[in-house]
Amino acid sequence: MKYAVRTLFVAMIFGLLELTNVGRYTTTTLSNLTTFALFRAAHDASLQVDPVLASEGYIVFMPDAAREAFMETMSRNLGMKPDLTPKPGSFIEHPMEIVYEEFVDDSSGVTFPFNYRNDQYHIYQTLEGPSVIYAVRIRATSKSNFDYNGYLFRNIVQQYPFPG
């Protein structure tokens, strides 16, 4: 009997270790989903430029259209509602929040290359051309008390993709 109890004890320890693994897998998956969805959403936001000014050689982003494209692509890629809140029963349990949005373009009064610097979100990058900058955060999906349940922060600088 002592033998069986010892085995059960080892099994319990193993179970706890596996729970931490489940947490790790969940967080990794969410982190990947967020990173890649952010890349695609920022890419689509960067395509929203004023066509009239673009025909004159100036790249100026349209903030409302960019925000709309960003949210549309993000929700499509993450399987969320259009306002970036989770659908019932989906893997993602918390809403995605856009915490920072900035457009650096030909109307910003800067010359490219431009050293972009944001101390609040620790974004430091040399911009070669007009770019959109986004920072988002989402609370990690926590399945047990062993899981990380804080926020995952991601940011991106996406340059306007010139045709050709």
């Binding site: 085995t7 193993f14 596996e18 489940v22 998956t29 890649f36 890349f39 695609r40 395509l47 692509t73």
Partner: protein, 130 residues
């Protein structure tokens, strides 16, 4: 006698689970991440201004990546997506599916895991006709 047999039996079962269950979960997780990563690379290429769709080369490149780097059989990979040229600003999409590895060591005890690992991605095209 019975107590001893029970102890031995539990030991064998739990030893098998402790040894072989974590690698199965790890493999499943690695493959899920691989599908996500490969599809992301594929759609980034597909949306570029000179493609505007998933070309046969991009699809083959994704399959090669999965077979050569992650040892997935080519017959277990399935791709569906936009293969017609899409104008700039319109959505292209792709879904990459591979056969899942066994999720549980004793599936009769814990139930069958997912049969496939599938990821979907969508993004606007940059394609410009020249």
């Amino acid at each position: 006698m019975f107590k001893h047999a029970l102890g031995e039996l539990l030991t064998v079962v739990f030893t098998c689970i402790i040894l072989f269950q974590p690698p199965l979960h790890e493999l499943f997780n690695v493959r899920s991440n691989a599908v996500e990563l490969v599809l992301n690379q594929g759609i980034a290429q597909a949306s570029s201004y000179d493609n505007g769709r998933f070309t046969p080369e991009i699809i083959q490149q994704m399959k090669d990546h999965l077979t050569q780097k992650f040892f997935v059989r080519e017959s277990d990979i399935e791709f569906t997506g936009t293969t017609t040229i899409t104008p700039r600003g319109e959505y292209i999409e792709g879904r990459l599916t591979i056969k899942a590895t066994p999720f549980w060591l004793f599936s009769s005890l814990f139930g069958e895991g997912p049969e496939t690992i599938s990821r979907h991605a969508t993004m606007m095209s940059e394609y410009v006709e020249r």
